[in-house]
Symmetry: C2
Subunit: 432 residues, 2 copies
Amino acid sequence: MPNTPSFPLSQASRAGSPQPINELIALALADPSIISLAAGLVDYKTLPVEIVSAHSPGILEKHGQAALQYGVTGGLPALQREIFLHLSRLEEAAGHKLEHCGPAQVVVTTGSQQLLHILAEILLDRGDIVVTCWPSYFVYTQALASFGAVPRSVDMDEHGIIPERLEALLAELHAAGQLPRVKMAYLVTYHQNPTGITLCAQRKPVILEIIKHYSALAGHRIVIVEDAAYRELAFSGEPGATPPSFRAFDKTGEHTVIAQTFSKPFAPGVKTGYGLLPLALVGPVMQAKGGRDFGSSNLCQHLLASVMANGDFDAHVKRLKAAYAAKGAAVVCALEKHFAGVQGVSWSRPAGGMYVWLTLPAGADTGPGSAFLKAAMDEKVIYVPGVFCFPADPARTAPVNTIRLAYGVTDPAQAAEGVRRLRAAWKKVSGE
Amino acid sequence: MPNTPSFPLSQASRAGSPQPINELIALALADPSIISLAAGLVDYKTLPVEIVSAHSPGILEKHGQAALQYGVTGGLPALQREIFLHLSRLEEAAGHKLEHCGPAQVVVTTGSQQLLHILAEILLDRGDIVVTCWPSYFVYTQALASFGAVPRSVDMDEHGIIPERLEALLAELHAAGQLPRVKMAYLVTYHQNPTGITLCAQRKPVILEIIKHYSALAGHRIVIVEDAAYRELAFSGEPGATPPSFRAFDKTGEHTVIAQTFSKPFAPGVKTGYGLLPLALVGPVMQAKGGRDFGSSNLCQHLLASVMANGDFDAHVKRLKAAYAAKGAAVVCALEKHFAGVQGVSWSRPAGGMYVWLTLPAGADTGPGSAFLKAAMDEKVIYVPGVFCFPADPARTAPVNTIRLAYGVTDPAQAAEGVRRLRAAWKKVSGE
C-alpha cells in the first residue's frame, strides 16, 4: 500500500500485547496427541447441556418477547436478586453475613472480565498503581497495561498474600510519596489463577485494616477488588472449606468489590459475570457499562435467573466440585509420584479450582524458547510458562523456573500422564 | 461515613455523564397512560420468539458442550461466515461487491456498541478529534467523551452529511494544524439515529476521496466508521432502496469499518453485533477484545449462526420491514395531519428505521426544564429533546428547538396519537 499511510494506534492499544499463551494453545489444538495443561478452559463433560435444554423453552414461553428485548444496564432484576441470595448463602456457609447492601448493588456484566475492565476504566489514570499478588491472573494484569496502570506486587505463601509484605510495600510507597497513585488492590482469593492458592479467612480482616489505614494516609479510598471467579469450586463441601469474602469483614462495604462469574461454576458460553459494588461505585460502573453495551445479553440473563431460581444451579455446582476434585487429586498425586525427592522442586496443593503451580529448581528455565519447553513439546505436553503470570512490576524481575498446570479440560488419567511427561522432559534437560 | 475518604474516579469516569434520557424513560414506564416516543427499543410484537424457540433445542443437540464452553475472541467461525455472506448479499442487492476481504476480517462483538467502544480505545488518545454528523447517535458521542475525544461536526441535509461541509471542516482543521489529531469519521448512514436520514449512494465515493485526501495530508489513515445499525430496516424492498456501504467504494478496505448488529434486525436480547474491519485493525481489535471479555457469548453466537444458515433470519427481516414501514408511515401521516401549515415546523421523512426528526420554529425550546416538555408531559407524551443528540462540538452551540421521535415500541395508532398530543402541547406553549 504505497500511498496509504497507516493507522495511528492509541497509547492504550500500543501498551497492550496479545495473549502469549494463544500460540501455545493453537499448537495443542493442531496435534491431538499433545496433552494440554495450558488452556484455562472448563471441564467439557460437566457443562450443563441438560439444564440449559430443560430451561430454554420455559423462558420463551414465560417471558416471550421480553427475553429478546433490550434489558436494563445493571442487569435483569430477577437475576440480581438470585445473585444476591447466592452471595448471601456463600457468606452464611462461611459463618458470616452480607450486611448493608442489597440486589441493587449487584451489577451483571459480560463475564466478570468486563467488570474488572470497567473498574480499571473508572478508577485508574495513567501512572496509577494497582497492588497485585506475585504472581497474579495475567489477562487482567495485561489489560491494566492498556490503562497505563503500574502493577506493584506482593508475595504469597500457601495461605495467600502475606499481610506483612503488603504493609511493607504500602509503607515504601508512602515514604516515596507514591501513595496518592495507589487506587486498587486486585486479589484473586479463591484457588487463585495461576497458583491454586486460597487466601485464608484469618488474613482478610488484617489486610482490610491495612488498606483502610493507607486509604486514610492517601486521602482517598483504596478499593479491594476481590476476584472470586473460582469461589464455588472448593473440592470439599465442608463448612469452612470456603472462606468468607472481604465484604463479610467490610461491614459497610465501602472498601470492597467482589467479582464473580457463571463461567466457572456453570458455563462460559453464557458469558455472564457479576459484582457486588460499594454504593459509591454503582453509578460510575453503570455509566461506563452504558457506554459499552447498555446491558449484557438479556436472553442469557433470563436463562440464568431461571436456573438459579429452581435450585438447578446449586445442584450443578455440587457435581462440578466432585469432577474438579478428582482432577486436582490426580495432578497432585502424579506430582508426588514423579517428582517426589527431586531436589528443589515443589508444587501447590489446591483445595479447589483448576490450577497447580509447579516450581522447578532455581536456575531452571521453563519460559518461551527454553530447552525445557522444547523438551516438553517433544514429550507432547504443554503448560503455561510461569513467567507469563508475573505482573510487570517495575521493581521486580519475574522468576523463570515456574509452571502453571491447568487441569480444567483434561481428564484425571490424561492429566497424570501429562505430569509424567513433564518429569521426562525435566530428566532430559537437567541431565539427571 | 465521617472517616472514609471517597473514591478518586479516573479522568475517563469524570468525563462521562449518565444518559439523560433514562430519567424520561423511567417516567414513562411509571405511568402507562403516557405515550413514549422517547425509547429507542425495538418493536415487541415482531421479536422472534418462535424462531428462537425452534432453533434452541437443535443447538444443544448438535453442538452440545461446545456451545456452552469458551469460544474464540473474534467470534464463532460459522457465524463469521454467515455474517460475511449477509454483508456480501447486502452489497450485491445495491449493485456492488465486497472485495479483498473474507470472514476472518469479521469480528463478533457484544452488540455493535462494544465494537464502537473498542475502536475508540484503540484509535483515540485524549484530545483526538472525531468527525461526526450534526446531530449524531448520542450514546456513542457520550462514550467518546470518556476517551477525551473531541467531536467536530458536519451538517446534514435530507441526503445525509454534506460533502462540501465535510471538506470545509477538514480544510479548517488542516489550516489550524489540527489534522494530526483527526483519527476517525463516525457516520450513522442508514436511517440515522436521531434523524432517520440515509446517506445517499452518490455521496459515498466523494466522502471517501475527501477522507483519503486529508489522510495523506495528515500523514496517517483516517478511518470511516460506518455505523449501519439500521441498514436492514428499509421500508421498501426495492433494489436501490438501501445504498451500498462505504466499503463497496473502498476497494481495498483500508479506510472503512462497517459496524452492524443483530439487535435491530433480529433481537436485542442476544446482544450481538459485528464489524468488518480493515486488515490492519484486526489484530488491535482482537487484542482489546481479549482484555475485555475474550469473546462474546458463544451460546448466542451458535443460535445466530443457526438462524442465519437456514434462511430464518432473512425471512424475519422481511416481516420487520413491513412492521416498521407501517409505524413510520403513521408518524409522518400524523405530522402532516396535525402540523401541516404550522409556521416554521418541519420533519424528516425516513425511508426506514425507527426515528423521525421534528424541528419546531426557531426560538422554540424543547429541552429539559422547558415549558414545551412540561406541556407534553401534561398531555401524556414524551420524546427525546433534540439538544441531547448534538455532540459537544467546541465550535458550535446545539439548537434547542428539535425533537427525536422514536416509534420502535409504539403501535401505529398510538404513535399517531402521540403526535396529536405533541401538537396540543405546542398549541398551548406557542399561544396560537
